[in-house]
């Protein structure tokens, strides 16, 4: 009988050992055992050095009308995110799963005290992704995540959905954790994060029926500006819109010229596309930044038009509309630039633009940049094109 050579015996033994010892993954977790985390909120705790950490989990359950999502939201006072994880694990029948987290809501008090310590877990622990979104809560993050919304969505899901469809109105920035960290690292540009707030009936021009049962409404509006990782101030809706133009973040936008000029006719329209470029100019030793915004608009509403216009008259009116829209955009940009100057914080990234295009000049001013923001020349040039005025060339108000 032919004997088996020793190397083959060794190989067979190794394979047997592998199949016996390597029978599965360590730390294997079945989906049914997991509690997917979708929202995380941070507020300051009552004890010194502690945080109120709110974790919003979803639990899918088979209901009468298909799969129903149940809200499982906990708030824990802990000194670290890991400690909160441990405490939640004690009271939850499922294992918290961090890989599904999409939104981090940061309370105003934590934002003022500094957010980097709280974000360290999110940027370090391998289950998390840098694509998760950051928002700042006006008030407490806990209050936002604990709201029962009228549309039945969990607040974290609502925020995620609204952020992801935000480019249809382009009124607030979309900030991933990764983007925040990269911006913070420039040490020139002040990070900016969108703001979420709950709105009561009558606030912000929104009315809705609130009898306690139907729940509440929340909205994303404005942004928070940071000095390092500390909240410095909030931007208004208009200032944030200006930021969006100057940062080339406008995809689609609704624009309204009402109240913007002396024209008796007001226009509303939708920005179809937009591009913002910048150039660092140097004229006679005076360095400045020139923004060039190019946008295409479709006019959707013409209000206050009292007469039927000829073709030439309509052309003139659209030309007037272009000027009116340009004024609106310019005003938004100017209030944003003005805010940057008031704060002495470069959330528009002007310093980085200078560094990119004129690094030699940047080296001469970088040490005093925050002092120089106030007087640094910035100009905005807007070039608008109205593509069309919808399905009508006249208005029903025409006599």
């Amino acid at each position: 009988m032919k004997s088996i050579r020793p190397p083959k015996i060794g190989l067979v033994l190794t394979l047997i050992a592998c199949s016996l010892l390597l029978t599965g993954c360590w730390g294997k977790r079945e989906v049914e055992q997991l509690a997917p985390l979708i929202g995380l909120g941070f507020d300051l705790g009552q004890k010194p050095g502690s945080y109120l950490i709110t974790e919003q989990f979803v639990r899918a359950k088979q209901g009468k009308e298909g799969v129903e999502v149940q809200d499982r939201t906990f708030t824990i006072e802990a000194s670290s995110a890991r400690e909160a994880y441990e405490m939640i694990s004690k009271i939850s029948s499922r294992i918290p799963f961090m890989g599904s987290l999409r939104v981090i809501v940061i309370g105003e008090d934590v934002a003022k005290a500094g957010i980097n310590d709280m974000l360290d877990f999110a940027q370090r622990f391998s289950e998390f992704r840098r694509t998760m979104y950051l928002v700042i809560a006006k008030g407490k993050a806990q209050s936002i995540l604990n709201l029962k919304l009228r549309n039945g969505l969990l607040p974290a899901m609502f925020i995620k959905n609204n952020l992801e469809t935000g480019d249809t109105i382009s009124t607030f920035p979309l900030v991933h954790l990764g983007h925040y960290l990269t911006t913070l690292d420039t040490k020139i540009t002040a990070p900016i994060i969108p703001v979420i707030e709950s709105i009561k009936p009558g606030e912000e021009g929104v009315e809705y029926k609130a009898d306690g049962k139907d729940g509440a409404e929340i909205q994303l509006q404005g942004a928070a500006v940071f000095r390092g990782d500390h909240l410095a101030d909030f931007l208004t809706d208009e200032e944030t819109k200006g930021y969006m133009w100057l940062e080339n973040n406008v995809v689609q936008r609704a624009l309204n010229t009402a109240g913007s000029g002396e024209s008796k006719v007001n226009f509303s329209g939708q920005v179809l596309n937009s591009t913002t470029k910048y150039k660092v100019s140097d004229q006679d030793g005076i360095v400045g930044l020139q923004y060039q915004i190019k946008a295409s608009i479709a006019v959707d509403e013409v209000m206050g038009l009292k007469e039927q216009l000829s073709e030439t008259g309509w052309v003139d009116l659209m030309s007037e509309a272009e000027k009116s829209f340009a004024k609106v955009i310019e005003k938004e940009c100017q209030v944003s630039i003005q805010k940057e100057r008031e704060l002495g914080l470069d959330f528009l990234g002007i310093g980085r633009h200078i560094e990119e295009e004129n690094p030699r000049y940047w080296k001469t001013i970088k040490d005093h940049w925050e002092d120089q923001i106030v007087n640094f020349p910035v100009s905005v040039n807007i070039e608008l094109t109205i593509h069309h005025s919808g399905m009508s060339s006249g208005s029903p108000t025409t006599n």
Partner: protein
């Protein structure tokens, strides 16, 4: 006697040169050269070309001999043996550290609860099996695995393009050329590891004039392929993370994999990529196992599977001694920069110079 064809030599060499460089390079070159770090990658790798040409020149002069045997011929038995011993110790120590790196990457990124010895054992079983099967099987293994590594790297880079942050590459050459030299110095040790592999594998290479010409072409091809791929990997990390984050991130390419989202349906493909990276790491670790075996065979005339097992046990011992990740990474960097780099960069030119001189003098 086993033989490796020019094409196998290219894929095997490229696989060894690549190893896990794409996991570690970005941070190192960005520390050295800032946002221009990506420019240093290709020049750093091409430093290997003149060294490879020296190895082929020696091979032409001393066919069927590795550089350890040639060292004994040219420098005398004892100096040759000392060089061989340095070769064994350096490559053996580094091979063990590579095994530790393999475990660290998996534990750090996707399998935090799996014991390290599982990764070590898995990697070692493959490496010992390849070493036992011979250089031809190892070359064929590389022919299969290396193209997959290339495809996965290209996918990682391409799918991360939507995540690029505006203007992170600018200004270019802001600090001048000086930082680039520091970056090139960070890359050069990887090229020298490849040269040390060439020093050992030369016994198995064809020595005909035409085939040697082909081998020279394949070296250029391997170095440029790996250099360009690594350059793209560093470039995309600087573009997505910015220079400071690129420095800070441990294994930035894995973080890129986590950021991949295609139409919100395909996401989190890092685990798939990790399987491919395992292949790349196994090629490199196996190469170092081969190198130690060649060294032992040349210096001590010890040959056979049992010695591969002994080397494997040594690798395992070294890996188990470096279970503290930061300590292991520092040791890896020190070994590359202060042991392998000076050793290869001095030994090969000296050997080549003496061989040329002796040939010229007719000794």
């Amino acid at each position: 006697m086993e033989r490796v064809s020019p094409h196998q030599f290219m894929t095997l060499g490229a696989g060894v040169l690549m190893g896990g460089t794409f996991l570690l390079l970005a941070s190192g070159v960005t520390i050295a050269s800032g946002r221009d770090g990506w420019m240093t990658v290709l020049p750093g790798f091409t430093v290997g070309i003149p060294y490879a040409l020296m190895v082929f020149s020696l091979l032409e002069q001393y066919p069927r001999k590795n550089l350890l045997q040639i060292s004994e011929i040219l420098f005398g038995k004892w100096i040759g043996k000392i060089i061989g011993l340095v070769y064994i110790l350096t490559t053996g120590y580094y091979g063990g550290l590579l095994l530790a790196l393999l475990g660290d990457i998996f534990e750090r990124s996707i399998m935090p609860l799996t014991p390290l010895w599982v990764f070590y054992l898995g990697g070692l079983v493959l490496a010992i099996y390849l070493a036992g099967s011979g250089i031809e099987v190892f070359a064929r293994f590389s022919e299969v695995v290396f193209p997959v590594v290339v495809i996965a790297l290209i996918l990682s880079v391409a799918l991360a393009i939507p995540r690029i942050e505006q203007g992170e590459l600018l200004p270019i050459l802001d600090e001048g050329l000086k930082p680039l030299f520091r970056g090139v110095l960070k890359v050069m040790p990887f090229a020298m590891e490849y040269i040390l592999f060439l020093a050992g594998i030369s016994t198995f290479l064809p020595t005909g004039k035409q085939e040697l010409g082909q081998l020279r072409t394949e070296v250029w091809r391997a170095i440029f392929l790996v250099g360009i791929l690594n350059m793209l990997v560093v470039l995309i990390q600087i573009l997505v993370f910015g220079p400071e984050e690129t420095i800070r991130l441990a294994n930035g390419i894995l973080v890129l994999g986590k950021m991949v989202e295609v139409s919100r349906t395909v996401s989190g493909v890092e685990s798939l990529f990790m399987g491919v990276w395992l292949g790349a790491m196994v090629i490199k670790m196996s190469a170092f196992l081969f190198m130690v075996s060649w060294g032992i065979e040349t210096v001590f005339s010890l040959k056979g599977l049992k010695w591969n097992f002994v080397v494997g046990v040594v690798f395992l011992g070294i890996a188990l001694g470096f279970t503290r990740g930061p300590y292991m990474l520092r040791e890896l960097s020190v070994t590359e920069s202060y042991l392998m780099f000076p050793f290869a960069s001095l030994w090969i030119p000296l050997l080549w110079g003496v061989a040329r001189w002796k040939k010229g003098a007719g000794v």
